[in-house]
């Protein structure tokens, strides 16, 4: 199940061109990511019960963690391998999967969330070009300060959902919708800032 899927192969470009000394380490991580991403996508597509999906994902997580990939270190690895994974070039659906995949590799071990600094860095790494309000979002997250320490899976997903469906001017945002309170607060934040600057 660790065999990379064909369509993902071109996304994870071979690590041949990496000049650094620890090339072998890089290559192995890249291969690991490439392989696990394939399995991750496969898990999503199979018709399985929720229970077994979760089981398989937690197997994957254990696998990553045994390779030292969790929390911020995973993000560091992604950042290093940016040129090779090339998520900017992914199709929206592909990216969506990848984005969800990132949550799992960046999770704290045995926890159900990622720490805020990791999440913030991850957004800054993944979302440029995909989320027009990214800078505002990051301002908002910083502005929240100590009241927000972790990001759970639901909040993580909603950020990308928000970036995909809501216009930049927030005109189609429905405050009575099912958005998480964090997103509601963000919209409020942007709107008050906007009206403050407008005056």
């Amino acid at each position: 199940m660790c065999a990379p899927l064909f369509e993902n192969e071109h996304l994870f470009r071979s690590a041949g061109g990496i000049p650094q000394s620890n090339t072998s380490n890089f290559t192995s991580i890249l291969n690991l990511l490439s392989a696990t991403f394939s399995s991750f996508c496969e898990i999503q597509t199979l018709d399985m019960t929720r229970e077994s999906v979760r089981k398989r994902i937690s197997t994957l997580e254990e696998h990553w963690q045994s390779c030292g990939l969790n929390g911020h270190s995973s993000l560091q690895a992604l950042s290093d391998l940016k040129a090779h994974i090339r998520w900017e070039a992914m199709s929206p659906d592909q990216f969506y999967k990848f984005y969800r995949y990132v949550f799992h590799i960046c999770k704290e071990s045995k926890k159900k969330h990622i720490k805020l600094p990791t999440a913030l860095a991850a957004w800054q790494l993944l979302l440029p070009g995909r989320f027009r309000l990214l800078d505002r979002w990051c301002d908002f997250i910083v502005h929240k300060g100590k009241s927000l320490l972790v990001i759970n899976e639901d909040q993580w997903w909603q950020v990308v959902d928000f970036s995909r469906t809501i216009h930049e001017d927030l005109s189609n945002f429905d405050p009575s919708g099912a958005w998480t309170v964090l997103i509601d607060e963000f919209v409020e934040f942007v709107r008050t800032q906007h009206s403050a600057t407008a005056m």
Partner: protein, 736 residues
């Protein structure tokens, strides 16, 4: 009478006389000049009547003359001749009026009036003379009008030919009415006569009513605008009322009744409807503030008249809401809030009853307004209402007789009904009730029970379940204590000189109290053991936890200047009993020996050494207790009374305690939200966000912000009770 004689009626006499009627020999004929002669006689009479002279011939003769002429088929001619005669006369009269047009309108009216009265009386006399004509010819001929009507018709026609006459007369009438409106007295009979004239002539509507109504509109428009800026609202309302009744009376007195409706409408429109928004805006709040029941009633009636009740109700509601909100938001006067709200409520109820005729929609608006403002400051009002009741129910309060307490409870309950956060009320009420029951401070158990039954009726038995449990516990405890006092445990095993009373509380019914440890004096420890032993023998399988912080003691203290009985809290007693052996102790010593938690100990010491009654002396002196302070037995203690109550500071309501109660309520609410959401999702399996929110809000009885609900949903997602649907993030699935 025998039956045989019935055939022929007897005629009176024996020999019958015969009456013979012979025809006239020659047919009688009218005299040659009969028509001319009779007419000239009549004409002379008519002219005499018109000229207001004595009629020379007797009226009977004239009547006979008319009858004769009619009998001889001259009625037609006679009618025409009479008509011509009258026509000529009336023409002269009207033309005479025409020449007086330069007279001022009112003086002119007099002339018209004279003319009209003459006309009527003359026409009546003429009709009497020509009665036979009027009764036979006119009735038989459809084209001919009765004589009086003929006179009217003629007059009408001539007036029509000289329109200025009527115009001038109407002008005069309008002037008179306006003068009367301005307060002058006018000749009402004159006006009435002329109005009747116009009515009889059939020109009332067109010639009078129309200009009259226009005039009225104009008059009241001007008056309304002027008065609104000149006088205060209550006076203005009074004025409107006066005007309306004046105009009403005017219609009854001298105008045609058909004018009443449009005239009153004119006044209503110009004086009331036009200015009502301004009146309501400017006046209602002030009237309500000043509790001017009559003025509000007036305003209500006027608003009803012009169909502006909805507008008035809106302003009324706004008033209630803003007034109430001011009271609720006035944080400095929180202590009086409930009292002030009750006062407001009773004031408004009075207005509702006396001024607003108990209008149902107003009463609903009142309710809505109360509900809206009372819940503006989250849970504070609920808390204060509970405290307010506590204040009244506690012994020593000046709540008055049983009936008064009952009435007070009913009034407070009305406020309670408006509160959304009933759970907050319950939490605070329970806490206070617990204190009253445990400290034996309740003024009347009957009143307590009545309150509980009221709450039960209001919110159902679930709401009062625990409160009732508390009563049961106190009653049960009393029984247990009776049994204990008669047991061998009490008589043989209790240390000498000690009496004790224990309240056994069922955990769950009562508020949760923090367990505060302290090492008790040996005597007390022993007593507790004895009771525990007794109790557990009676009710095996139970667990007793002692709440020292709630205990009270009465101890006897021997001061150099006299023996006193001190009524103190258990902690105070523990501290004081340390001084049985030594006279001076440092804070640290007291702490190690008593084992009371630091903060609590400091409070206790403060109450003993810095309060009103100082049985201990603190060194150095000061209001607050410091770590390095030492305490000593007060040798010089004096006090008039034998039994002294030393108020314990921790018994007082602290901010902290309030906050704790509030937090507890919020915590409970979160569980309730979670439970409601899970319950809904369990039955629905899949539900959109909006429907879930709607259903949850319907189930939950306390005020809830959508964001709070959302947070709980998110928490449930996080805990994997729910998941968002993979295709639509607005839909939740229940995870079994």
């Amino acid at each position: 009478m025998s039956p045989t004689t019935a055939t022929k009626p007897s005629t009176g006499g024996n020999g019958s006389k015969k009456l013979v009627i012979k025809p006239l020999k020659a047919k009688p004929t009218l005299p040659e000049n009969f028509e001319e002669a009779t007419w000239s006689k009549l004409q002379e009479a008519i002219q005499a009547v018109h000229g207001k002279k004595r009629v020379s011939t007797s009226l009977e003769e004239l009547y006979m003359a008319v009858q004769d002429m009619c009998m001889h088929k001259m009625a037609d001619k006679l009618y025409i001749k009479l008509q011509q005669e009258c026509d000529a006369h009336i023409k002269v009269q009207v033309e005479a009026l025409q020449t007086m047009l330069q007279l001022d309108a009112v003086a002119f009216l007099d002339r018209v009036d004279v003319m009209w009265r003459d006309h009527c009386s003359q026409m009546l006399t003429i009709r009497q003379i020509f009665l036979y004509l009027d009764r036979t010819h006119v009735l038989a001929t459809t084209t001919a009008k009765s004589l009086f009507d003929m006179g009217l018709q003629l007059l009408g026609r001539h007036l029509q030919e000289k329109p200025q006459v009527q115009l001038h007369a109407v002008q005069g009438l309008l002037t008179l009415v306006e003068r009367e409106r301005k307060g002058e007295s006018v000749d009402r009979v004159l006006v009435q006569n002329l109005v009747r004239m116009l009515g009889s002539l059939g020109t009332y509507l067109e010639a009078f009513q129309k200009p009259f109504l226009e005039d009225s509109h104009r008059f009241y428009q001007v008056e309304g605008v002027a008065l609104m800026s000149e006088i205060l609202v209550p006076e203005y309302l009074l004025h409107c009322e006066k005007r309306l009744s004046e105009e009403f009376e005017r219609c009854t007195q001298y105008l045609d009744l058909s004018t009443r409706r449009p005239l009153i409408q004119a006044v209503e429109k110009q004086l009331v409807a036009e200015h009502l928004p301004a009146i309501l805006e400017r006046g209602l709040a002030a009237l309500m503030d000043a509790n001017r029941v009559e003025d509000v009633a007036r305003l209500y009636v006027l608003s009803t008249r012009v169909g502006a009740l909805d507008a008035m109700r809106a302003v009324f509601k706004d008033y209630v809401r803003s007034t109430g909100l001011r009271l609720v938001k006035d944080e400095d006067k929180d202590k009086e809030m409930v009292e002030r709200l009750l006062e407001l409520k009773s004031r408004l109820d009075e207005v509702l009853q006396k001024s607003l005729q108990r209008n149902e929609s107003f009463s609903n608006s009142l309710k809505e307004a109360f509900e809206s403002f009372i819940n503006q400051r989250q849970n504070k009002p609920a808390e204060l209402i509970a405290k307010f009741i506590d204040g009244r129910m506690r012994s020593g309060s000046k709540a008055g007789s049983e009936e008064e307490i009952e009435a007070m409870l009913d009034r407070v309950l009305v406020l309670f009904r408006y509160i959304q956060g009933k759970d907050v009320f319950e939490a605070f009420y329970k806490k206070d009730l617990a204190k009253r029951l445990l400290m034996g401070k309740s003024a009347s158990i009957d009143a307590e029970k009545s309150m509980i039954s009221k709450l039960k009726a209001e919110c159902g038995s679930q709401f009062t379940n625990k409160l009732e449990g508390m009563f049961k516990d106190t009653e049960l405890s009393a029984d247990v204590m009776n049994a204990f006092r008669q047991s061998t445990h009490f008589n043989l095993r209790l240390p000498p000189g000690i009496d004790m009373s224990v309240s056994v509380l069922t955990a769950g019914f009562w508020p949760t109290y923090p367990v505060m440890e302290s090492s008790l004096p040996q005597e007390l420890d022993k007593s507790m053991e004895v009771f525990k032993d007794f109790y557990l023998k009676k009710y095996s399988g139970r667990r007793l936890v002692w709440h020292s912080s709630l205990g009270t003691c009465v101890i006897r203290a021997q001061f150099p200047k006299g023996v006193k009985e001190l009524s103190v809290s258990l902690f105070q007693a523990v501290v004081l009993m340390l001084f049985n052996d030594v006279d001076d102790l440092s804070l640290a010593d007291i702490q190690t020996q008593s084992g009371i938690e630091d903060k609590e100990l400091k409070r206790t010491l403060q109450s003993l050494a810095c309060g009103k009654v100082r049985v201990l002396v603190k060194d150095p002196k000061g209001r607050d207790v410091d770590d390095k302070d030492t305490f000593s037995f007060n040798q010089d203690f004096t006090e008039k009374l034998y039994r002294i109550k030393i108020n314990a500071i921790q018994m007082k309501e602290t901010e902290e305690e309030n906050k704790k109660t509030n937090d507890q309520v919020l915590q409970d609410r979160q569980y309730q939200i979670d439970a409601a959401v899970v319950r809904i999702m369990k039955t629905r399996k899949q539900l959109s966000h909006k429907l879930l929110v709607a259903e949850a809000l319907q189930q939950l009885k306390f005020p809830l912000k959508a964001a709070d609900l959302k947070k709980r949903i998110e928490s449930l997602i996080d805990r994997e009770y729910l998941a968002r649907d993979s295709s639509d993030q607005n839909i939740y699935n229940y995870l079994a």
